[in-house]
């Protein structure tokens, strides 16, 4: 089994992932999907959604072992956050 490696630049991951999110994922989201993690295969438009980040990635890899995954979070600019900083809700 070959070791999985990123095959794209960081900029490509971000750009392709966001494009698939906007085109394919966003139209299918329901209100209860807020805050869920979205694992997106940037090569195939396939994705998985789960409240747990590991579960979303794991489920996508089980379907597509070669997936190049970009991880996002519904309603958030980024998948995770470090440290604390005060924001008003709109600016986060």
């Amino acid at each position: 089994m070959t070791t999985r490696q990123p095959r794209y630049s960081g900029e490509e991951f971000s750009r392709r992932g966001q494009e698939i999110y906007d085109r394919v994922v966003r139209p299918s989201l329901r209100p209860e999907d807020e805050d869920k993690f979205v694992a997106i295969d940037i090569e195939s438009d396939s994705y998985e959604i789960d409240r747990n980040d590991y579960a979303a990635v794991d489920r996508l890899l089980k379907r597509l072992p070669d997936a190049q995954i970009w991880l996002m979070r519904v309603g958030h600019r980024a998948a995770h956050r470090f440290g604390l900083r005060s924001y008003t809700r709109d600016s986060e």
Binding site: R4, D53, L71, R77, H80, R81, F82
Partner: protein, 123 residues
């Protein structure tokens, strides 16, 4: 129950075994970051030593509001005696434990140098 200590800088330190798919374990000393929404970060050297598989990339927001991209690996941690599959961000710094691992637990600490940190499953 997980027992840790309060450091000289008043950080919450815990020791955590990290395991790879072959069952090899390495214990790391990690800081609890209550502002970290993930599970665990590990230095690239530890990730390489364990041969953890790369699985994903992500953006994350840092404490100063900057957005950076990280490589994500898959690992198993022994959390309160139970093996848990988690995502790990590769960051070349002291490992951080995040709130995803703490869901369902009580956290208590005596915040003085050398004080006890206790993480215990909610009864």
């Amino acid at each position: 129950m997980i027992a840790g200590t309060v450091s000289a800088r008043h950080e919450f330190l815990i020791r955590l075994p990290v395991r790879n798919a072959a069952g090899h374990e390495q214990e790391v000393e990690a800081l609890l970051d209550t502002g970290f929404t993930g599970s665990l970060t590990l230095p690239p050297a530890v990730i390489a030593n364990l041969g953890l598989p790369w699985v994903s990339r992500e953006d994350a927001i840092l404490a100063n509001g900057a957005v950076e991209q990280f490589d994500i690996y898959a690992a198993t941690v022994i959390w309160d005696g139970v093996a848990r599959a988690i995502l790990v961000e590769a960051i070349d710094a002291t490992p951080l434990v995040g709130m995803t691992l703490l869901i369902g637990y009580d956290l208590r600490a005596r915040v003085q140098i050398g004080g006890l940190v206790q993480i215990e499953a909610i009864p």
